[in-house]
Amino acid sequence: MMSIDSTMVDDDLSREIASHRPFLLRISRLQLGDAALAEDVVQEAILAALECRSAFNGRSTLRTWLVGILKYKVLDALRDKKKHLPCPSTGIHEEIATDDFDVLFDMQGTWREPMSVWIDPEAVAMQTDFARVLQVCLDNLPPNTARVFMLREFLEMETTEICSTTLLSSTNVRALLYRARMGLRACLDIKWIQSRDEKGGIQ
């Protein structure tokens, strides 16, 4: 495989493209659930970006442009590799059971605890901090849950498309999306507040 860093990087834009590799890889891994495949797909996306870097017009950020290219490459990989889709043998039934969130509610189905108030990350610097926490929480999701969630939020598929892509019923897709979002909320609730406390709180 060609090494991007030594042979292809011949100008500042190319170098900058390569610098987004860790982010692209993280997304690719979450979506595909297969480290080697994720690596290949990111490699393809970066090579494609380098090849047509003159087409980057600066109207979006470089990262947004790269994410767009990655989406196409990931979709191609999903079409090619049906075997990499979530399947019943990989613990998906455990993931679909959402009972573990029931502890958050009492017998009447009322939240047991009042919600904490999150500091809204309106400033750009804070958005970066939030993104870092979000990455950790995404990595904590069970693999099939993460992949279905990514089909929805990264590839922006409609739920009907997710059903036909994964061969899961709409009830199960709904359950996995619920689980992903409830899990992310609970994780962010701990980690975002922690992260703000570490920053000193008074800002």
């Binding site: 970066t128 999306l177 619920y178």
Partner: protein, 65 residues
């Protein structure tokens, strides 16, 4: 409608529009429930930042991932 059902509807609404009946039931619960108002605020921030993250529209200080 209780809080658990409300959380399901609020999150479902991110994927498809709720029926007018469900929307009305959810609104009615939300108006009276401070817990769900708090949850709704969290989900709103979360969803907005998830969109931002996946569109690549977050500046990142590289080297600390």
């Amino acid at each position: 409608m209780n809080c658990r059902e409300h959380s399901k509807l609020v999150l479902d609404a991110l994927d498809h529009p709720l029926s007018p009946q469900d929307q009305a039931r959810a609104d009615e619960h939300l108006a009276d429930c401070s817990f769900c108002q708090g949850a709704y605020r969290q989900f709103t921030i979360m969803q907005r930042e998830i969109k931002r993250f996946f569109s690549g529209d977050v500046a990142e200080k590289e080297g600390n991932s």
